[in-house]
């Protein structure tokens, strides 16, 4: 099975599926790709996840998490996912910017949950490079969302210039 996602503003097929690890669950199968909730990692560490036997290892953050606490794991992970349980819950935008701009995360930053067409541009401006659209939404059709604005007023992850630096 594959997942179609938007990566760096193009539709790509991923030949694996991220599984979110749940406390109490058996050790993940060899070769699987696992997202560990930050709260779990903070309590138990990541030692139980053998990076050499897994395809990929990542963290998943919710809006309640403090992104500064993810920093200690940066060396050991391939991806940070941030969940948006509802599109109206905008905490993940701040979390994305903090991970990129303050804590220096340079690997994959993935937005998951209720991700819709009209959020894509803002998510990418806040540092998300992989966008997993809500099930049933066509990523091809959503690509035009990145082209809506050709200029921006504010600096963000994608630009360290405000509009007044360009005037």
């Amino acid at each position: 099975m594959a997942t179609r996602v938007i990566k760096n503003q193009e539709v790509v097929e991923e030949d694996f599926i991220w599984q979110v690890f749940e406390a109490g669950q058996d050790a993940p199968e060899e070769g699987s790709s696992v997202l560990v909730p930050l709260t779990y990692a903070l309590e138990h560490g990541l030692d139980q996840f053998d990076a050499s036997s897994l395809a990929k290892l990542g963290l998943i953050l919710t809006g309640d998490d403090n992104p500064s606490e993810a920093k200690q794991f940066f060396e050991r992970i391939d991806c940070i996912a941030v969940s948006f349980p509802k599109f109206a819950d905008g905490r993940g935008y701040s979390i994305g910017r903090l991970l990129r701009e303050r804590f220096g995360w340079q690997g994959e930053l993935r937005a998951v949950g209720q991700i819709l067409h009209d959020q894509l541009l803002y998510l990418s401006r806040c540092g998300f490079d992989v966008l997993e659209l809500e099930e049933g939404k066509d990523p091809e059709r959503a690509l035009k969302a990145f082209k809506v604005f050709s200029v921006n007023y504010q600096p963000a992850v994608d630009s360290d210039q405000a509009i007044y630096h360009r005037r």
Partner: protein, 550 residues
């Protein structure tokens, strides 16, 4: 006033194209109503009781004649020949059709206007003192900073899905006419001990179900940090504001639950990280924007012609209008003229397409082509020379725009109520009509002096009832319209929240109750005392006795 450069213009046009695409996707069913709602709201489009309502932004209330003519044209073409000025200096149209809204937005874009972020859980249109730039008590014109803030907050990628809406107001004057203590952030331009100008930053004020007076988070913020400090406040709010209950989601609740000291500590900590970022405003940009608001060239002889004073002696109607609707200007020989949109028989704040055209023409002729919308739902011509006052009065009078009741009880703030709003419990417009009918004696109104009556049709308090000297709140009691009566509120420097006087009053009895309130004041006032001063001195008891009697 500010003029768009190609960046501003590009953005507004691209926004129209985006919204057109969103409307198309909604019409084709690709977007569900649930998905479309926040998108249309972020463009000021509400679904009301009967139809869509579109709220158009008037940044800090300032309009050119050209823009006002366009608003008149829109009222004619897309609405039923009128618009409604709101308490946040915007204009609302009550009858646009969804499929026509993109065309309407195109028309707005052609005169450098838009409906961006006039609703939704984002940073709303920035409001300001309606006498900004001309007030005698002003330290500095706040509008350049409003414009800088407007740009920074437009399409902000991080702050477009906040816990709740976010309202910002500015004043540069000593008397607060912008209600900065009742906004999510209020900025006051102040001077520090070294004589430098900066902002006092007030956070966490608001009305709604939980009225709270904002608190000072920082006493002096150097100007170049306006945006970085705002970003710090918004980030703390976006991450920590409540999202589980929309009635507890405004920043005022966060500030209250953390305490202002802890909230300020978190903001300052965040700010330390970003104060040196690209958000640091360069003086060149401040100067660039300021240049748009530079004082216009004025007639050096404006002061010489004071024939209007003689005219006032001969014409009592002109004299009344002069007293109530004409205000001091910082330049002698010039005046600010308020056009009251509180004429009897008209819903407060409503203005017809013809009137908009007439006002725009008069602004071109007599007031440097500028018009300002006020949060008290009137329009102001900001730069009228003494020599033109008589002619202006007579032209306004011809169009029923010279109602001389500004600042009186009849100059009430009122929400659209049941007639339009899907949330309302009561027909505040109908009650406003009864109040006009009863208080129709101008001399009596003048004798009552400055009196702010504010009326909301429901607990969401769009009519600012908490901060009226007299406030009225419509409630539903077993299917009947009742009103809570509040006294003692103020949105100004002496900010206070009105207190319930007693049990709710049936709609039919509200006018009598108001009558009892003002008579109590008249009986008890001491020399020259305004209503609010008397109330604060004597307290609610005498009012209560008279209203509820025995």
């Amino acid at each position: 006033m500010y003029r768009y450069d190609h960046f501003d213009s590009t953005l507004v046009h691209e926004r129209v194209a985006q919204f057109r695409d969103q409307v198309n996707r909604r019409m084709e069913g690709e977007l569900s109503e649930d998905e479309f709602r926040p998108l249309r709201l972020m463009n000021g489009l509400y679904l009301q009781r009967h139809a869509y309502m579109l709220r158009v932004a008037i940044p800090y209330g300032l309009l050119s004649s050209v823009q006002l003519h366009k608003l008149a044209h829109i009222a004619r073409t897309y609405d039923k020949d009128y618009g409604h000025i709101t308490t946040r200096q915007n204009i609302q149209y009550n009858w646009p059709k969804l499929q026509e809204v993109p065309d309407l937005l195109d028309e707005l874009a052609s005169v450098e206007m838009h409906a961006i972020q006039t609703s939704g859980n984002c940073i709303r249109n920035i409001s300001a003192d309606h006498f900004a730039g001309i007030a005698a008590d002003e330290l500095e014109d706040p509008r350049p900073y409003c414009e800088i803030m407007r740009q920074w907050s437009s399409f902000h990628p991080e702050f477009s899905y906040l816990p709740r809406k976010f309202k910002v107001a500015f004043t540069g004057a000593t008397n607060d006419r912008a209600a900065v203590r009742f906004h999510d952030i209020g900025f006051r331009i102040v001077e520090n001990d070294e004589g430098e100008r900066g902002f006092e930053v007030i956070v966490g004020g608001g009305l709604g179900r939980t009225p709270i007076v904002g608190q000072v988070v920082r006493e002096f913020l150097p100007k170049q940090h306006l945006l970085s400090y705002s970003e710090a406040i918004l980030r703390v709010y976006n991450l920590h504001g409540r999202r589980d209950n929309k009635y507890k989601a405004r920043i005022k609740i966060l500030v209250k639950s953390l305490g202002v000291e802890e909230f300020a500590r978190q903001v300052e900590e965040e700010w330390e990280h970003i104060k040196g970022s690209a958000l640091l405003l360069e003086q060149a940009e401040i100067d660039r924007v300021k240049a748009f608001f530079a004082p216009p060239e004025r007639n050096p002889d404006a002061l010489l012609d004071d024939s209007y004073l003689q005219a006032a002696k001969e014409n009592s109607r002109f004299s009344r209008w002069l007293k109530r609707n004409v205000h001091q200007h910082k330049v002698p020989g010039y005046h600010a003229v308020t056009i009251s949109l509180k004429a009897p028989g008209v819903p407060p704040g409503d203005v017809t397409a013809d009137q908009m055209d007439q006002i725009a023409e008069l602004a071109t002729k007599y007031s440097l082509s500028r018009v300002v919308a006020t949060h008290e739902q009137n329009l102001v011509l900001t730069d009228v020379e003494s020599k033109d006052l008589v002619a202006l009065f007579s032209a306004l009078d011809d169009h029923k725009l010279a109602t001389p009741n500004v600042g009186t009880l009849a100059d009430m703030i009122c929400c659209p109520g049941l007639d339009f709003c899907a949330l309302a419990n009561s027909g505040s417009i109908g009650l406003a009509a009864k109040i006009y009918d009863h208080f129709d004696d101008l001399d009596y109104l003048y004798d009552l002096g400055d009196l702010k009556l504010k009326m909301s049709g429901c607990i969401n308090s769009c009519g600012h009832h908490h901060v009226g000297h007299i406030g009225l709140l419509g409630i539903d009691k077993r299917g009947e319209e009742f009103y809570q009566l509040l006294l003692g509120g103020s949105a100004s420097d002496d900010a206070s929240i009105g207190k319930w006087l007693g049990p709710a009053i049936a709609q039919d009895d509200v006018v009598d109750a108001l009558d009892a309130v003002v008579k109590t004041y008249v009986d008890l006032r001491e020399d020259g005392e305004a209503f609010l001063e008397t109330y604060r001195r004597v307290g609610p008891e005498p009012f209560k006795e008279r209203v509820y009697g025995n």
